[in-house]
Amino acid sequence: MTDIFTETSTPRYRLTRARRLIRTLVRRITPKRIGLRNRILLIFVAGALILSIVLASITYSFTRANLVEQRINTETNQALTNARRAQNDLILSPEEIALALDQAGNTHKLIFMQGQWSASSPQFLQDMIPDVLLERVQNQGRAALMIVDTPKGEAMIVGIPLPRVDALYFEFDNMREVRAALQSLQLALLIATVITTMVGVSLGLFASRRAVRPLANAAQAARAIADGRLETRLEPTDDPDMQALTSAFNDMVNTLQQRVERDARFTSDVSHELRSPLMTLAASVQVMESRRDELPERSQAALDLLSSDVLRFQGLVEDLLEISRFDAGAIRLVLEPLSLYEFMKQAVSVSSIPRTEIVCDDVDALVAIRGDKRRLARVIANLIDNARIHSGGKPKVVIQRAHNDEPPTHVWIIVEDDGDGLIEGEFDHIFERFSRGGAAGRRAGTEGAGLGLALAREHVALHRGRIWATNRTDGIRGARFIVELPIEIPTTTDESSA
């Protein structure tokens, strides 16, 4: 009976093959393209799968072995009893083979007696008995048991010699109960495997998300810092693996912040220091100007140069201060709702060309915006100054609704001139600090320091708007600056007290 279980090695072989397959699979799809998260997830899922398959296989083989063994014991005992009874029957009445077969319960039986086979049912005939078994029972005269493969699955045949009547007794058991039990077990194990794998998936998702969270936080912090929120830090953690990253990251931001602040402070300090002498200069020049008539002609000319440059100097210092505030992130807008048309009228009236024409053909563009009126007026004034300096002609202001803006959320303020226009490729460049553009030569060194447009861009951005430049497209030569600002949506809660 020792040769019965030779086929149990098959699942183990299958297992090693599966493991090898997964390993190859993992190796094949892991190259750099798989992210950390997916990698963790994959490891969890594969781990859960492998573990559950191993456990299921072990459980299955043990249970199967147990069940089969039990069944063999039972069947052997029963067959021995049946055989003994059949032998007794045959001793009493050797002709009544059918009776002997019938008596012995409901299993399928075969009796070989006097060169003849007698079967209890057509489902078990002599050709189903393997030669090995027959040989052993017939020639060696020993009882034997064998597991055979039938079309319906495994079955068991017990052969017992009946020496007293010189016959052989065979009993067939199709092991239906064992098979049924094993099938239920297979199903249960399959379900268990699926559940375990799914648990593995969810654990993997959870773990991968957790594992990646510090990285996501770091990425978010880095983005915030890039956006200028230099005070952003990663929260300190007790995780020893993450501590290194966190502290290195925070150290880096500290250094960066210090450098940025030092640069901004330097500009700010310089400008602040310049203000006091400027104040003295401006006041003194004013005193001299009120006595201009008393001065000789050459002194008058010198005074005119002096006073115009004091003004220019003042503008430059103001611009530098404002820029340093931007760099330090220290601008606080004084926001209020503004009627766009009224604001534009006022802004133009305090610019260097107070008579600049304002055109608005679209009633819908006469909206309210929300802004810091003094800063926005500087934007308009800077654009008008820029137009005046570069074109020498008359700039024009157009108010219209933003293109492709449905529902209306933005409005365009366009400042056009009829100068030489911009050089292709400089549309962005001109918004850089101290950029003098291709037209620098024409500026004749009288105006501006090249900060006007840079400031305009910063101011507009603070108002959550955009500014850009193109050339005119209406057939007239000239540059076109477009300021796009969000429309103020009226709310019931007005934060100001009036």
Binding site: S276, T280, A283, Q286, Q346, A498
Partner: protein, 228 residues
């Protein structure tokens, strides 16, 4: 009208002080100089000025403190000089009692214009109305007096002019822009916070419960109104 004005300029930078003095003297005014808050307090005690110009950044006691000290004994108009317009400094200075502010560097002409606006007299009240009565609040424009529950209330000159402007059209709504123009002489680009802080200061004085004003009321989105 503005001839013979005496200005006390408190500024620690000697050169600025000298140049501002020169420029204001061109206007025909008299200028006292003080290099520190302590000096200013002493000087103001002996030679009361018509207008005080205070730089917020002072060594020793700072501009805010100086403002408060002067306010305790006088309702003289105070113009403060700040470094920036968008900081908390402006509101803090106004809360401390300043009437208006300028940012450095300013043109002396601008300073003169501000001072002239602050020294403007109250517009004559309607003839036959020497007293304006709003419930328990009584305004006597010609005497520059305000009574709350028959007790005299000390208002600064600017607060008084603000109250009188509101009283000139009882129940009428005044926008911030209008008040900025009438009281401070500012155009469109005036700073609305001037009005807001002064209204707040005014309420502290003429309201029984400043948190729930009965007289100086806010008309949401429009401005302010004076009512009984």
């Amino acid at each position: 009208m503005t001839v013979g004005i005496r200005v006390l300029a408190v500024e620690d930078d000697e050169r600025i002080r000298a140049s501002v003095k020169l420029a204001l003297e061109d206007e025909g005014w008299m200028v006292d100089e003080a290099a520190s808050g302590e000096e200013a307090i002493t000087l103001f005690g002996t030679h009361p000025a018509d207008v005080v110009l205070i730089d917020i950044m002072l060594p020793g006691i700072d501009g805010f403190e100086l403002c408060r000290t002067i306010r305790k004994s006088s309702n003289v108009p105070i113009v403060m000089v700040t470094a920036r317009a968008d900081t908390h400094d402006v509101v803090a200075g106004l809360e401390a009692g300043a009437d208006d502010y300028l940012t450095k560097p300013f043109a002396p002409k601008e300073l003169a214009a501000r001072i002239r606006a602050l020294l403007r007299r109250v517009r004559p009240s309607q003839p036959g109305h020497p007293k304006l009565i709003f419930g328990n609040l009584e305004i006597i424009p010609d005497e520059g007096k305000v009574l709350l529950d028959n007790h005299e209330v000390e208002l600064t000159k600017t607060e008084f002019r603000l109250l009188c402007e509101l009283a000139n059209d009882p129940g009428g709504v005044f926008s911030r822009e209008l008040l900025l123009d009438k009281v401070w002489g500012y155009g469109y680009f005036g700073d609305g916070r001037l009005v807001d802080v002064h209204i707040r200061r005014l309420r502290m004085k003429v309201e029984v419960d400043p948190a729930n004003p009965a007289h100086v009321v806010t008309v949401r989105g429009l401005g302010y109104r004076l009512q009984s």
